[in-house]
């Protein structure tokens, strides 16, 4: 038991803002998780593929370019195509409140907006993964 939680932190689309993604990745590592960071400009298919190959427990998507309504659902679709939709997906970035419900309806588990403490993200992932395994 006590396999380390594995997280994929991914940057879909063309957005180059990765400060948040990198800081989240390091926070999660400090909490004892194993984090894979994709780097910039990943297609939805690449993200889904990496998530499966790396056997991650959670996928975190980060977008600050305003393209989240197009990009996040595409990742969900690619996961479904590979029958991997059971991997929980969370998201963060510059995402207006009014878009959040749309993203939740598309299967994203939770959206973290600017100002969220990193620890809240880490707590959520721990609860999610441990909760699922009970």
């Amino acid at each position: 038991m006590n396999r380390k939680i594995r997280v994929l932190v991914a940057k879909p689309g063309l957005d180059g803002h990765d400060r948040g993604a990198l800081v989240i990745a390091q926070t999660l590592r400090d909490r004892g998780m194993e984090v894979i960071y994709t780097g910039l400009r990943q297609s939805a298919a690449q993200i889904a593929q990496t998530a499966i190959q790396e056997d991650v427990d959670v996928i975190g998507l980060s977008s600050l370019s305003g393209a989240h309504k197009s990009l996040f659902p595409k990742v969900m679709e690619e996961l479904r195509k590979r029958e991997a939709e059971d991997i929980p997906v969370i998201g963060g970035g510059v995402i207006p409140e009014e878009d959040i419900q749309f993203l939740l309806d598309h299967g994203i588990q939770r959206i973290f907006t600017p100002g969220t403490p990193m620890t809240a993200v880490a707590d959520f992932i721990e609860e999610k993964v441990q909760g699922d395994s009970v």
């Binding site: 063309l14 803002h17 800081v23 297609s43 370019s65 197009s70 510059v94 600017p114 100002g115």
Partner: protein, 552 residues
């Protein structure tokens, strides 16, 4: 009395007179509300300080430019108020530009969408969902014609935040100007064209460093002969800071990048004074007021020293670090967004006290979305209040001589130089970028800053302290989702109606030129642009030859 001081003072008086002939002082006389006259410049009173003053501060407009690059700074003319804008289609952005000019803005600044910045057309699969989102979508010359419609390019200077495809967008700008009857020798503005900070912090790179540096030196060379009034690069610390660096790192890494461009240009055979006067800089302004002021003053002093003493530039214009400032986007909070107006005002004030040449003030809602027209207006008004109501622009470098500011300036300078030495030891900025050195330093600083916020060692008002129950944010700018489809359709029409054979020939020429490292690509790109070849087609042609960068 120190001879050096007396001599400098005399020069300053003569230079000030010259400026006044061209641009009379804004007021005559300058007084405050109590009727006390305000001098253009305040100096040490004690003669024993003159030598030290002449060496470290000097007079404004003179080496080492600690007090500013012009003799009279804002006494005659305010800084250029230049708000960065762009979203959706060229037509929408053109309307916003004309609105901002009507509101008293004095220069344009174009934001391009990510596909344009990374060299993809709107109908490329890589562009899906991104068209028109963070800036305006430009595919062909026709979009640029619409973007600049009814804007007189002989009068308005335009800054374009474009890097990897800077050559393409500059050529489009030249082509539109020519259509307006404005020769390329007369157009003014800036292209960002700073690829190193894209690898370090901003992410819109296309090609590997070597061909990217070639494109940049090609632009320097072409503009020296053809577009002499355009700033050929804006060496940017802004994004380095946004990515999480400290103020010192921002200045140090920016200057290190600047030196790499200078070295590349020299290596390509240019003389220092042929291009150094057209180098411009772009800095950030965050909340720690005096630290920011010290950063601007120290950066000027370091650059002047390097250009004059290390690179032996003769032209004084080569010594001057001219810069644009934008207030700090990452300091804005999504919570209680109106508080951001106050943050922006403080940051803008630091830029003015630091002697900026132009300024963009962020809008209160930018942690949530692109600014609405109302938010953009408040941001511009913030600058206008500083300019017209605060009186801080009535004398040059009003903080000079403060023990705190001068010692902080010295300390920031010292730390900048330590970083510069370290980077030089690594073999320069290109090498340091390829090794990921600056990226790691920045990331570490970002992580430390986040930890301080979470432990409440650093208080961010409205976010980790003084919070309220979350309000909802109505009235955010939304980019029309239909835009992407419309842009793709228009692009299809352009492709259908242009002379395809001509486009193919021009692209083939470009490819051959790209394969010859001694050929300047600018005339070839200009020819492609004029034939209505698209940004994506031109960039793909060069991708075929240069390859793509995939990260450090």
């Amino acid at each position: 009395m120190s001879e050096h001081f007396t001599e400098q003072k005399k020069t300053w008086e003569q230079q000030s007179e010259k400026v006044k002939e061209r641009f009379p002082e804004r007021k005559d006389p300058f007084t405050n509300l109590s009727g006390i006259p305000i001098e253009p410049l305040y100096l040490p009173e004690n003669e024993s300080n003159f030598d030290d003053y002449a060496e470290k501060l000097g007079f404004p407009g003179q080496y080492p430019f600690t007090r500013g690059i012009q003799p009279t700074m804002y006494r005659n003319r305010f800084w250029t108020m230049r708000q960065y804008a762009g979203f959706g289609s060229a037509r929408e952005t053109n309307e916003r530009f004309r609105y901002l000019l009507d509101q008293g803005q004095t220069g344009l600044s174009v934001a391009f969408d990510l596909p344009t910045q990374i060299g993809y057309d709107s109908d490329d699969s890589m562009a899906e969902g991104e068209v028109g989102k963070v800036g305006v979508a430009i595919d062909s010359l026709e979009d640029m014609e619409i973007l600049l419609d009814q804007i007189p390019l002989d009068k308005v200077s335009t800054s374009m935040t474009i890097n990897a495809p800077a050559s393409v967008l500059l050529c489009m700008y030249i082509a539109v100007a020519e259509k307006q009857g404005v020769p390329k020798e007369k157009i003014t503005g800036t292209i960002q064209n700073d690829i190193l900070k894209e690898y370090i912090a901003r992410g819109t790179y296309i090609y590997p460093p070597k061909p990217s540096m070639r494109l940049i030196t090609n632009i320097f060379e072409y503009c020296r002969d053809n577009v002499p009034k355009f700033n050929t690069i804006s060496i940017s610390g802004y994004h380095i800071r946004e990515a999480g660096s400290t103020a010192v790192q921002e200045a140090a890494f920016t200057i290190a990048d600047g030196l790499a461009y200078v070295d590349a240009a020299l290596e390509s055979g240019l003389e220092i004074d042929e291009f150094a006067p057209r180098l411009a800089f772009f800095f950030n302004a965050h909340n720690n007021f005096f630290e920011e002021v010290a950063k601007f003053r120290a950066a000027r002093r370091v650059w002047a020293d390097l250009m004059k003493n290390k690179y032996k530039a003769q032209n004084e214009k080569s010594w001057r670090l001219r810069f644009h400032t934008q207030t700090g986007g990452s300091t804005l909070t999504a919570q209680q967004p109106d508080n951001n107006i106050v943050r922006v005002a403080l940051q803008a004030l630091s830029a003015v006290m630091g002697g900026t040449q132009s300024l963009h003030t962020n809008s209160r809602d930018e942690a949530l979305a692109l600014p609405t027209e109302e938010s953009a207006r408040i941001a511009l008004r913030t600058q206008q209040i500083i300019a017209h109501e605060s009186g801080v622009a009535d004398t040059v470098d009003p903080l000079a001589g403060s023990y705190y500011v001068e010692q902080m300036t010295d300390e920031v300078e010292k730390q900048i130089r330590e970083y510069l030495d370290k980077i030089e030891d690594m073999g320069g900025a290109v090498q340091a970028v390829e090794e990921g050195y600056m990226q790691r330093e920045i990331h570490q600083a970002a992580y430390e800053a986040q930890k301080r916020i979470e432990s409440k060692e650093d208080i961010i008002v409205g976010m980790n302290e003084f919070t309220t129950d979350e309000e909802t944010h109505a009235d955010l700018l939304k980019v029309d989702e239909k835009l992407e489809q419309e842009q793709i359709e228009r692009l299809g029409e352009i492709r259908a109606n242009r002379d395809q054979q001509l486009v193919d020939e021009r692209l083939k020429d470009l490819k051959e030129a790209a394969e010859n490292p001694n050929e300047n690509l600018m005339p070839h790109i200009l020819a492609c642009v004029k034939a209505y070849a698209t940004v994506g087609e031109i960039c793909h042609t060069m991708r075929d030859v240069f390859g793509e960068y995939t990260g450090a």
